[in-house]
Symmetry: D2
Subunit: 335 residues, 4 copies
């Protein structure tokens, strides 16, 4: 199989850098370019030593970077859309780590994120929501893949088996993320002295992953308004979504366990566990680890799903999507 040439556009952030590291060592892809604005001229391996990628960061130039077969765009929301559109126009197959193509309804997008940066491409509806466990076939054909948000990745894998069966009457999602979720910017929030030995809820009732989760639950069959509340916890990488589901009808442990087994038995990147999983168990991997519990006292169904927010929640899921888009084994380059 011929190697696929690939670029990471925006490789100075955490997710872009990890994606570049994975692609650099991937037998099926040839990482040609990594780009960055401020850090252009530096080697990626100097900026992010753990990647050990010897490529020099280049300033983005569509005439250069539009020549590859595929690109991962790791730009902030809003800034991503025009670049994705530009690369798409050159025939590059793109995985976009931003939220710019995740929502299917432009009104909803603009309500949560502001004006869209490439409305004409948005309106074509060409972009596919890249959660492979839900949209494997669509991703394989897609020209633009909207890589899911980190919280939606975990929450949707936690809830999909229930949503498909229309078992969710109401759900509270209490989510916890490591500090890398706040990005590489040095702020009062990400300062070690503020974050260490601390734990804080944030964006209460206002986190932008809310409409993304609701949209996909709706597609799966469960249209509802969810309560989604993220917390910052003092660890670098890792994310837990604790989902408290009020079911539409009484369900037992056996039924629910079987539902999850059936949904995920053949999924390479979903692990079911009897005991509640810990975030450390999926650190630096593409795995999502899930446990499901029925509480007989309250009849609630409780689902815990944990991922590494920078891996399955961003970088490695993007590579998983690239694997699918180019007909490679879905696990290649990820173990």
């Amino acid at each position: 199989m011929a190697e696929v040439s690939v670029a990471v556009i925006g490789a100075s952030g955490y997710a872009g850098a990890i994606a570049a590291g994975l692609l650099h060592r991937h037998p099926g892809f040839d990482l040609r370019h990594v780009t960055a604005r401020t850090e252009a001229g530096m080697k990626l391996g100097e900026l992010h030593p753990r990647t050990r990628v010897p490529l020099v960061l280049e300033p983005y130039d569509v005439d250069v970077h539009g020549e590859v077969d595929a690109a991962i765009v790791a730009y902030p929301h809003g800034a991503a859309a025009p670049t994705v559109a530009e690369l798409h126009a050159r025939g590059v197959r793109v995985v976009d780590l931003s939220a710019d193509f995740r929502l299917r309804d432009r009104g909803t997008y603009e309500q949560w994120y502001g004006e869209h940066g490439a409305p004409e491409v948005f309106e074509t509806g060409d972009a596919v929501y890249g959660l492979p466990e839900l949209y494997r076939d669509e991703v394989a054909q897609a020209r633009i893949v909207a890589n899911p948000g980190c919280y939606p990745t975990a929450a949707l894998l936690a809830l999909a088996p229930l949503a498909r069966e229309k078992l969710i009457s109401d759900v509270v999602i209490d989510a916890k993320s490591g500090i890398s979720g706040a990005g590489r910017s040095a702020t009062a929030t990400t300062h070690f002295v503020s974050a260490n030995e601390n734990l804080t809820p944030y964006k209460v009732g206002a986190h932008r992953h809310t409409p993304e989760i609701e949209q996909e639950l709706g597609v799966l069959g469960s249209e509802l308004a969810i309560s989604f509340t993220p917390h910052l916890v003092p660890l670098a990488q890792g994310e837990m979504t604790s989902c408290y589901v009020t079911p539409t009808r009484p369900v037992g442990q056996a039924e629910v366990s079987e539902l999850f087994r059936a949904a995920y038995a053949s999924e390479p990147w979903v692990e079911l566990s009897e005991a509640p999983p810990g975030v450390l168990e999926v650190r630096d991997t593409n795995f999502c680890r899930i446990s499901v519990h029925v509480d007989p006292r309250t009849s609630r169904v409780i689902v815990f799903a944990t991922i590494d927010n920078l891996w399955k929640g961003a970088a490695s899921q993007a590579v998983q999507n690239l694997n699918l888009m180019f007909g490679r084994d879905e696990a290649e380059g990820l173990l």
Copy 2:
């Protein structure tokens, strides 16, 4: 005012040691004895250097330790009751850090904890549930004070203003605690390598603080089965209860904020905050810090309450109770 003689029975654990340190420096109490079994003979300040208490740990002996005016008993559940009963019989006023006298119904106690160790004292109903913000007057008169569990302390302070108004139709409590909550025993769970960079739910649907919270919500006017799920987070001390309340009728932010202001305006140890609080803000203090939010999308009322699990969740709340029991200023020795 004459000094009150006091002993800490079981001072080798985290909570007992902190209580001893507070009492040792307290102007109104004279810490006479600290006890421990395995570590007897050691100075408390060697075992727990941060306490800087020079007293030698003594093996417990009711003939010696029953001579004080007051005692804090920091024994495990089950083991505490007989010692509390024995000290009580000698006329010692006791604050019991265990769960042995927290539940009002013996059947419920035995269902969750097993056989009671001093049923005759339990049945007298003499013990008072020592959450000072709810039972200040009762504590002042009590001979036995059952110091609340750490999670119930935070959860009840979060929910009391709503429970009193019968505003709680349903509630999900997602709680997070630092590792000291698992006690001083060295186990696979408390090992640094297991706990650091990790986060794990535990005792799903089965944590013994559940009936304690339900009991007190019931007394306040809201009889209901709650969903309570604790998680272990990688920090030493600190606890957050995130409470997701489905209200019995639609409520607005202004109404709810006013409810909390009214409830806590004159409470010395409850701080209301507009932004969600962080656990670090109450570290090593007796404060409980609370924020309340109405999510207009879902109509849910979300309340965050954070405490230091070893302080307001155990040791300093015990001293706050002792202050009340002996007519001292409630904040004395705690700043």
Copy 3:
């Protein structure tokens, strides 16, 4: 005793804020003002919740802030000198947390820090090096106290008993500090994701505390060039200096232990320990904890000294100095 009015100039940084918190609760001082530039208008207790100081941060104004009896100046090196000079000229007794008045030789100062901001005051030699354990009497009389650097505080307390006896032929000081030592600025270095699970040497052969340690060792009787190398460790507060001394003549454990006992037996804030101390043992205190070991294999004398870099290494030592300057008990307000 009448209360002494005091201001903290520069209370938005970590050390200034802690000093303000200590003074706010100190029975002998009346904290009148706290200042800050960017955060002026905010309450200190909002910016630094743990201080619980209700005062509003004011922009610095010598006409207002020069009216107090005493001030702690917590400005960066270089910026401090003119303000210290200005307050000094108004008759305010000042404790300066910066390095601006620590060095006795202006040439050395300018070599390591650049041009001095108040050379005329520097040249008067009025400033006293404020390590109370070495200069208690001088501090009591001083109008300007140069509060020592954090590393010099620990290193000098570790080495003073040996230096006085001219026992130091050579010394390697390997120092480790928590992240708060890097200040409140949010940078790539202080970002949680960079700092956590990391440990890095920095400013190798070039740290500005080097001449300060050498100067004071010289005054004590041991003129020599030292090797001083700091490392950043993943904890918030705490500092360890590991000192490896080649003695001028063979010494035994008993002799050395006795030397330290004699030096520190009556010091309220120095604790000798047989086992090597841990930084956690002095967290949030004014204590310096020291152990001394003779290694018979190499004849080296190894001294470990640990402090809280923000407390004994800055804020609480400043309060200890204020206590001395105003005739209060040296431990007042610090327990």
Copy 4:
């Protein structure tokens, strides 16, 4: 190339488990057995989820486990020797993670570790000290490889270029290790609440890695008594040795830098860095990262070397040794 069958004897500890995980995914080895005593019957992937090794832990049985081509023995010092001897007698090529065959002089071994468990094998001198960067050819031929201690690995890579040139007159090694270095036993020392936000020197003047470092420095040409002092730092994996060398003659930065470049230019697992390295840069890798500095003020040569104590300091170095022993590429299975 035919696959080599391999067993990990003692796979329940941290290093054994990581080695098993590496071998399980290694293209050149066939991991047939993993053994454990207490946890026998459990899957390794349940005990150590991050390994994702589906093999069941078996009780050790030489009749079963002596049938493989190669074994990694991950037993404690003392307990390892008889097992190594037994496997050796069956013709198994062994990498021993313990110290039992590291020292060349039995008297020295017994002075630091007590009686040897297999003196007859020890006396044959068949075992090779398995630091591949020093003994690559010997390892390739060896039947028994004594995998170096974690501290000696970093310290010797830091000092070898200087030792070979007889440039070391005296050296102070101040070492820092993450908590995993204390092993998987749950103790007061490894408890999260004791270890977090703490930092403590330990085994001052008495750490067993001292004679190992001295022995190998002697072989390289620098016979001397060293000062070696380890500290426990609050991180899970990672180790730093800060080496302060008094040179036998004045040396300049250029000369020393060139010495290191020459020594390590073609080493796949040694990285030279101009800035002092951080332990995070080598986390979960087989790399040793080194920087060397000449301090003109004191003429000292300062070398920092950092490794992951569980990888290059144990498990991955064992696999690197196996690669050499079976003629595989030295980096295979380690990226």
